[in-house]
């Protein structure tokens, strides 16, 4: 049976190559997924927001989760991992407090976790732009 080739989606971007590259790049480096798709100002604003939030969290002596002894720590670790290379660099350099002793440090920990979660949203947005689900 002869099959007709699928017509390309009109909304799909013209870029070819690995379809998950913006998703992975956006996860590793905040805003990089949008930069790959030439969405310069979107990527810049996303990068500034996420990096500033992560840096402010560290400046407030927030904690970078390193292990998962209980469910809350596991969720915190998952959120932190959303920051990609920011988290890895922070862990390698020994940034962040070992334990939370101040109220401000607790807020800082939340800032770091939410920065990771926002980065995941941004990376998925880059993937949607790449696949043509969003313009």
């Amino acid at each position: 049976m002869a099959s007709t080739p699928n017509k390309p989606n009109a909304a799909a971007p013209a870029q070819q190559g690995f379809i998950f590259l913006p998703l992975i790049a956006g996860w590793l480096v905040p805003g990089a997924g949008h930069f790959l798709l030439r969405k310069w100002w979107r990527g810049t604003l996303l990068a500034i927001s996420i990096v500033c939030m992560f840096a402010l969290g560290l400046a407030m002596q927030g904690r970078l989760y390193a292990n998962a002894h209980d469910i809350l720590e596991m969720l915190g670790l998952l959120g932190d991992l959303g920051s990609g290379l920011l988290y890895i660099v922070g862990r390698v350099m020994g940034l962040g407090a070992d334990s939370i002793q101040l109220t401000v440090a607790d807020w800082g920990t939340r800032f770091i976790v939410v920065a990771g979660l926002l980065n995941i949203i941004a990376a998925v947005d880059a993937h949607n732009l790449r696949t043509g689900r969003k313009s």
Partner: protein, 59 residues
Amino acid sequence: MFTPSHFTAVLLFSLFASTVFGITQRDTPQRMFRYGLYCFGLFVGSVIVLSWVMYLIAR
């Protein structure tokens, strides 16, 4: 060490989160800006309302 007040921390959190929400949840720049502003207002407004509620409960 950066030690903001609670309200300053709320404003910073709301600003960054609203920026990401606006850019990722809408398509056009104008709609992104309006949605970001809407989220920012909801963040800050809900914090103020909940703060008053907790203050009244604690009395």
